[in-house]
Subunit: 504 residues, 2 copies
């Protein structure tokens, strides 16, 4: 006999699965757009995506769903897992309800204008072209904060959209640590001599790179029966359900950096998605926790594993065999040092794993101050350039290579950048725990066996979806909240060795 | 100033475009399923398609749409084009309204069972396994005829779903002509000696076949900026709007027949879709007329063009250059005769362009009699085999190669088969008209210039979508209704030459 509560829960689950079906259909349309869409199909495709997005919004805000959620939230007969789903779904539902149609229409209009003016501004390398639209966007985002509500700082409302529960008051001390500890450490590195890496820019034929990338994914444990890799202009991971998680890559035949680590990075994202509970399809517990946790998975594989000596002990010989002309004179040690060069640079997406966080720190501070109103949009270029000098000791030669380099603000994605750094810091903290709990981890990786690590990530993180908050997950796994120290320890150990620094 | 009627028409158009967006999203999901879907993604994909299909049905039967259509149907201020759209949409809307939920659920359940039991029956080559499910299906289809209504014959209600307006009373004399004229003609051919075609089954490498197929599509005028070709198990054409019309093909490295004509066939379908009016996206006038007219386009290219001497005068040299080992000793004349071998055979999809119609005739008669109740499902194998003997002079060795060879009945697609023959007959009638109106057509094709023909098809057929009924379109183009004589004239001229028959 099925009880009334079970019946209501089942109805709720069906509604959520329908919504997931539509959202995944949108993902298929987007995936196709980035991989196989013929040129002339673009405008109709945009219209088709927009129609499905409207339908998804209707499903996500329907009265029926609201009624089911309110009924279930008052029930005592739910198990812990079910309760968590209902709470999460209700909270998401209520947040969506806060948006009135007028605001949504304005936001969509301004977003579209903002993106167009960013494209123009970037081409002209002139921030003033972007300024009016960005001012409107910031104004709207400030309204959005009020609409959504917050306890401490308006920026928290934006953070919450990408990193549920994250707070400005948490990020400030975190980034203060970044500032205090990382700036000096990077300065120390800058004084040492660098390895020469011109051979990374020799000719590396496409087919062999592609093949190597597939082998790396295979080794990581990516399931090709539940996914595939294709080529796109910008690498990404997309999921249509945990049994169909696809990655894309791009190959530059004159840059070996490009494909390898984007492949490992997207592979890390994909392993997370493939590890989500199939039977919780459509429910919060079958969905990724937050962007920060998602990024922790990609960065753990990309950096903690994919730029480690054990990983390349397992794989470098194969790489040398694929490109003997370029690599036969480069030994493993040199290769390892090369792929870990730390050097302050202008462009975030090209940054090494240490100076990367200065890029984020700068964006975080500017976003926070724009939202609280303590700086003005028109002052962004000057503040940007001054901070790049302060943190990275770099002169920004143009807006294009400066404050116009990222697409995020033009999309209205404020509050997004911090999740990149959170990802790295979570990754460091998780990885040191994995090292503790898997005593022969390094040995296994050196032998090309990534299964113990994947199994650990599956058990500790993937299978839970949104069952925990990020903070609770971190405590459950490592016994404490997110702490910058783990990243700093990792950095000191690794780069101390690479750059021959004295351990303090 | 926009009038009230214009406003209503615009609302109607928007609703239709939304519906088209969802239907095209389904097509993208289906396309991906047949081309790139990883193995484990299949069951979720089926669920996603089913959810979108439900949403499309809701949109197509919504009260708002019904109200708009009823309002518009009473308006006098519509132009001819608008009026046609409203009439067509209202008629489609009313037909959908005739289905009650109970019937739809039963049909979907029986269809799924019927398909499964057909698969089993075919594997076992035992019709009796399929019989109970097919009996249920026929019963449901007979109910469907009553539900939908008809003027003359219940089977008309089913025909109408694929070939709007087509009637059993039209098909009976048409297929009587097929019987009376084609059976004897094929018998005459059977008495002549056949060319030897073993060299068609030599090794033809995949890449070169693929390349040749692309060149043929290009030559036909298929727009690769508004489409693409991929590989799938069964070739098909799918449209996501006239600016994104995709074809698929399959390549058998030991059968040169396979790829070439499937490529041309799908190319013909695709040219029709690419030629539909973009600005009428979502409306009947922006949609293909009927399956018969669709098939007329694929068959015209496949047979009237793609198996003609002029076409191979333009292309055979290139084919020989691609496969010199196999083709250097085969001259054009031999190649032309080979690709036009007429020989009665068991399997419809492998049949030549003449005996093909006996396969359809047999299916049509059986379907009609099942629906009117004059034969029983259990008698199908016996009737099937007896008719194959009568029309094709062939003994059917097993159900698998006999009445279980097609998927159609297992899907409930009764009334579909006749559209294949209609396609060929329309093609013959259209093509003789094109020859009249483009005096140097043969010369142009011999020179590889297909543009005049494509332009003619665009002007006469493609641009109209559903503006005309099939009958009216045929009259508008050729001055008379569909007449079997044109196909017979074509057959006699072509095969009289090939088989050296006396012209009567």
């Amino acid at each position: 006999m099925i009880t009334a509560v079970e019946k209501t829960y089942k109805l709720y689950q069906e509604k959520m699965q329908e919504l997931a079906d539509v959202n995944h259909a949108i993902s298929v349309l987007n995936w196709d757009q980035e991989t196989y869409l013929p040129q002339k199909g673009a405008s109709l495709r945009a219209q088709q995506i927009s129609t499905l997005t409207k339908i998804a919004h209707q499903l996500a805000t329907s009265e029926e769903l609201g009624d089911l959620l309110h009924q279930l939230s008052e029930q005592e007969n739910l198990n812990e897992w079910e309760r968590r789903n209902v709470t999460e779904s209700l909270s998401a539902y209520q947040k969506k309800q806060k948006y009135n149609t007028e605001f949504v229409v304005r936001l969509s209009k301004v977003t579209s204008e903002c993106y167009q003016s960013w494209l123009k501004a970037r081409t002209a390398s002139d921030f003033s072209i972007f300024q009016p639209a960005l001012e409107e966007m910031i104004q709207l985002k400030r309204e959005e904060c009020e609409l959504l509500g917050y306890d401490e700082h308006p920026y928290d409302a934006l953070l919450d959209q990408f990193e549920p529960g994250e707070k400005t008051s948490n990020l400030l001390p975190l980034f203060k640590d970044v500032h205090q500890q990382l700036v000096d450490f990077v300065k120390e590195i800058s004084d040492r001599s660098q390895v020469e890496d011109q051979w990374m820019y020799k000719y590396y034929p496409k087919d062999k790179q592609w093949q190597f990338g597939l082998e790396v994914l295979e080794q990581m444990g990516y399931d090709f029966k539940a996914g595939r890799q294709d080529v796109s202009a910008h690498p990404f991971t997309t999921s249509f359900g945990s049994n169909d998680v696809r990655v894309t890559t791009r190959i530059d035949e004159y840059n070996l950096y490009e494909m390898i680590w984007s492949c490992i990075h997207e592979g890390g994202h994909a392993l997370y998605e493939q590890g989500l509970k199939q039977e919780d399809y459509g429910l919060p517990t079958g969905n990724y926790l937050s962007l920060g946790i998602h990024e922790s998975q990609s960065r753990l594989w990309e950096n903690n594993v994919g730029r480690s000596l054990p990983f390349w002990k397992a794989n470098y010989k194969r790489l040398q065999e694929a490109f003997p002309e370029n690599l036969q004179t480069v030994d493993l040690e040199k290769f390892y040092k090369t792929v870990n060069i730390v050097k302050p640079s202008l462009i975030r997406t090209n940054a090494d794993e240490l100076t990367y966080h200065f890029h984020i720190l700068i964006r975080f501070l500017i976003e926070k101050e724009l939202i609280e109103g303590s700086i003005k949009v028109k002052d962004i270029p000057q503040i940007w350039n001054q901070k790049y000098k302060e943190y990275l000791n770099i002169d920004v030669p143009s807006d294009k290579e400066g404050c116009l380099q990222d697409i995020h603000w033009s999309h209205g994605s404020l509050g997004y950048f911090p999740t990149y750094s959170l990802g790295s810091f979570y990754a460091a903290q998780f990885y040191q725990q994995a090292e503790k709990e898997i005593p022969d981890l390094e040995y296994q990786i050196t032998n090309g066996n990534m299964r113990p690590l994947l199994q650990w990530l599956r058990t500790k993180i993937h299978q839970y979806g949104k069952f925990y908050t990020a903070e609770d997950l971190c405590i459950a796994i490592t016994g404490e909240k997110l702490t910058f120290q783990y990243f700093m320890d990792y950095a000191k150990k690794k780069y101390g060795y690479i750059y021959g620094l004295k351990t303090k």
